[in-house]
């Protein structure tokens, strides 16, 4: 699934969250939306799944306007994960993950098989499936959220700061797992992060944003080696050292 913004503007009150952005998220690639908080990257993600609507311009899904699709079926073709997981507190881990499949009338065996598959992919402990979100660790919550987002085998995966709420140790572990999950998924992924290291580690392409505009986009190495703007250099310098990613950062300096 290819996602595209065509000259999109989104305002909240007097402020402009997205300022005339045109951008393509190529099918089958992982793109990181990177930038300081308040730069509009979360809003951009929410535009892609129609949680907010553009004031101007259009969001395109496979080259057709998003507004031309019936919205619920389209959303079921995407997976969306927010920072603290967004798990429903009245449902267990398994119930959260399988909610949509059960709602759509999948038979029990199919649900169980899919759950098993995803549990293995996300490395979620089987004995925790019957726990409620309040009884899960931060990392486990994110894994359940991933299972839920992936359950219907969507064509695109949208993640808003999936590691943002985790402590550093869990963070590093889940980051590595996410990379594996994205590889296995093999479809369009858009991941929002303010962390340079994460963007470099997880994404094929990085889109660096600032105040509602795209500053530079391309592979991380390109941003690091050929910054389009002093802001690029400055922001990349905030990144945490990541093996493999840290080197281009240093050569850029």
């Amino acid at each position: 699934m290819e996602l595209e913004l065509a000259d999109v503007t989104k305002r909240f009150g007097p402020g402009v969250a997205i300022d005339r952005i045109s951008l393509t998220f190529p099918a089958g690639r992982t793109t990181a939306l990177l930038g300081p908080s308040g730069c509009g990257k979360s809003t951009l993600l929410r535009l892609l799944i129609a949680l907010v609507e553009p004031d101007q311009g259009q969001v395109l899904v496979d080259s057709k306007p998003l507004s031309s699709y019936p919205i619920e079926p389209l959303r079921r073709r995407m997976g969306y994960v927010i920072q603290d997981g967004g798990l429903f507190p009245h449902l267990t881990a398994a119930e959260n993950a399988t909610l949509m499949a059960r709602h759509l009338g999948w038979d029990g065996a199919r649900v169980a098989a899919r759950l098993d598959e995803l549990r293995a992919l996300t490395r979620f402990p089987a004995d925790a499936l019957r726990r409620y979100p309040t009884e899960l660790s931060g990392g486990q919550i994110q894994r359940v959220a991933m299972m839920r987002a992936l359950f219907l085998d969507p064509e695109a995966l949208l993640l808003d700061e999936p590691l943002g709420a985790l402590d550093p140790l869990v963070r590093a572990e889940l980051r590595d797992d996410l990379r594996g999950i994205f590889r296995a998924f093999g479809k369009t992924v858009v991941v929002v992060t303010h962390d340079v290291g994460e963007a470099a580690h997880l994404a094929d392409l990085v889109v660096l944003m600032r105040e509602g505009r795209v500053v530079q986009q391309g592979p991380y190495a390109t941003l690091a080696s050929a910054p389009a703007d002093p802001f690029v250099t400055a922001f990349l310098a905030t990144g945490t050292a990541v093996p493999g990613a840290s080197r281009p950062l240093e050569t850029g300096r």
Binding site: E72, L74, R75, Y80, F88, H90, M100, T134
Partner: protein, 509 residues
């Protein structure tokens, strides 16, 4: 209107069986006789019921149906056929605009306009009067109100309504040129003050039972200051057309009472605790109007346990039915209110406004719409029950964190499915709390059902207040309190079952 009232009564009678008439079943709809919530009215109602029964007609006596406004509305709308009232009440309170000169002609015209009629006065007057203890009056030689002027040291105590009303103490003092300064005092305390010699003169109703108990002398209103409160029966004019007609039987009571006689009847019921039905039978016997239908006269004896059981059934029925209706309407309203903030403000505001309508006013407004008995009580309880449920549903839904809302939308759930699978379950703790509040309020409020003849635990409370019988009041108040506690416990248990573990933990932290 008539048929709707009758239907309401039939429903109430069928539902509870408590009002069913004993004895042989005469044909035709029963003649519905009502009484107000004080002893004299109940005695007059019993007497009227007995004497009409003597003609072979079926009779239903709605004992202590309510205050003047409730009973009058019930008569106007045809839910009630007959009740006893006083000319003064009709002139001053009910038909004020149409009876400027307080004449019987004006009264007849005003009644006729409503399809109503009246009997001639029954022979006694229960207006305002002044009283002193017999001993003190004798010592001072006071028989008439004008005699008071010669004793400026007398201490006068009046109930507050008499103190304040222009046609109360200020007018009285002017008419009789009385030199005393009066003080306001609670009516019951005033009797004790007179007993103790702490006060000398008080206001009373002319046929109060206490006149006998406290050995009071009613002073003659020799300058005719107080308006007349002659007792008579008012009835639906259509009664005259029935065969047999109950009107001639009622008219046999015209002029058959005296003020001292009525005081004695009141005292027997209120002070000697003789049942009103018995007082009525004795009166008819003594006045040689004895009714030859003994089976109809003896009301079925009911054990105390059976009575409490019946009240419990009536009370529970009112609470549960109104609560179910309030849930069925309140939750959807709360959902609509949460979905549309502008509508929400109106809905929650309106439900709040309903809560501020005094129950007695609400009941009076409902009588023309749904008659008397259980229906108006149910509607009133339903309306009072709405606010907590609507408000809590609204609060519960609006309080769902934005990320959870977004997650549900992003999953591709349609609005209806979001509501069912996510939003309502998340709002459930708040909704259950609202229902619990409504239920507990309903248990307390259902006691007002007795004001319109719906029975319940309000019935013994009302009778207890009327007869100054504290144990009777407890017979209603204690079970009502126990029921409220039990309901609270049931809901707490239900809450643990209904609310998912995940939400309970979260609420606990």
């Amino acid at each position: 209107m008539r048929s709707r009232g009758a239907a309401a009564l039939a429903l109430a009678a069928a539902a509870f069986g408590g009002c069913a008439d004993p004895g042989p079943k005469p044909a035709g709809p029963p003649v519905v006789i009502a009484s107000k919530s004080f002893t004299e009215s109940v005695i007059l109602g019993e007497i009227a019921a007995d004497i009409v029964r003597g003609t072979g007609l079926a009779v239903e006596h709605r004992r202590q149906l309510g205050g003047t406004k409730v009973v009058w509305r019930a008569l106007e709308t045809g839910a009630v056929d007959v009740y006893a009232d006083y000319t003064g009440t009709l002139y001053e309170e009910i038909l004020r605009d149409e009876t400027p000169h307080r004449t019987l002609d004006e009264l007849d015209a005003a009644l006729a306009r409503r399809g109503l009629a009246r009997t001639a006065p029954l022979g006694f007057d229960n207006g305002y009067a002044l009283a002193m203890t017999d001993a003190r009056a004798e010592a001072l030689g006071v028989r008439r109100i004008s005699d008071l002027a010669a004793h400026p040291d007398l201490r006068l105590v009046f109930s507050n309504e008499v103190m304040d009303r222009r046609d109360g103490w200020p007018g009285l003092r002017a008419r009789y040129a009385l030199p005393q300064v009066a003080r306001g005092m609670d009516h019951d305390l005033a009797y004790r003050a007179l007993d103790a010699g702490a006060a000398d003169v008080m206001d009373i109703y002319a046929t109060d039972a206490e006149i006998r108990a406290h050995h009071l002398r009613v002073l003659e209103d020799d300058r005719g200051y107080f308006p007349s409160y002659a007792a008579l029966f008012v009835y639906r004019a259509g009664l005259a057309g029935r065969t047999p007609s109950p009107v001639p039987a009622l008219r046999r009571l015209e002029g058959r009472f005296t003020a001292p006689g009525m005081i004695a009847l009141n005292a027997r019921a209120k002070l000697d605790h003789v049942p009103e039905s018995e007082v009525a039978v004795d009166f008819l016997r003594q006045t040689h109007m004895e009714v030859s239908l003994p089976s109809a006269l003896a009301p079925p004896k009911e054990s105390a346990v059976a009575t409490i059981g019946r009240h419990a059934v009536e009370h529970t029925t009112m609470v549960l039915l109104s609560l179910l209706a309030a849930i069925a309407v309140g939750v959807p309203l709360g959902v609509v209110a949460a979905r549309r903030p502008r509508v929400g403000r109106v809905v929650v505001g309106a439900a709040g406004l309903l809560q501020t309508v005094p129950s007695i006013a609400l009941l009076v407004l409902l009588i023309p719409l749904v008659g008397i008995g259980t229906p108006p009580a149910l509607v009133a309880l339903f309306l009072y029950g709405l606010l907590p449920i609507v408000r809590n549903t609204h609060t519960g839904l609006v309080g769902i964190p934005e990320p959870l809302r977004d997650s549900a939308r992003a999953l591709g759930l349609r609005p209806g499915a979001r509501l069912r699978l996510v939003e309502l379950p998340l709002a459930l703790p708040a909704i259950v709390a609202g229902v619990k509040t409504s239920a507990v309020i309903a248990v307390g409020t259902a006691t007002i059902g007795a004001l319109v003849g719906a029975g319940g635990f309000g019935q013994p409370i009302l009778t207890g207040i009327r007869l100054d019988d504290f144990s009777l009041i407890l017979q209603g108040a204690v079970p009502a309190a126990v029921m409220a506690l039990a309901l609270e416990w049931i809901f707490d248990t239900a809450e643990r079952r209904v609310v998912p573990r995940g939400l309970r933990k979260q609420r606990g932290t």
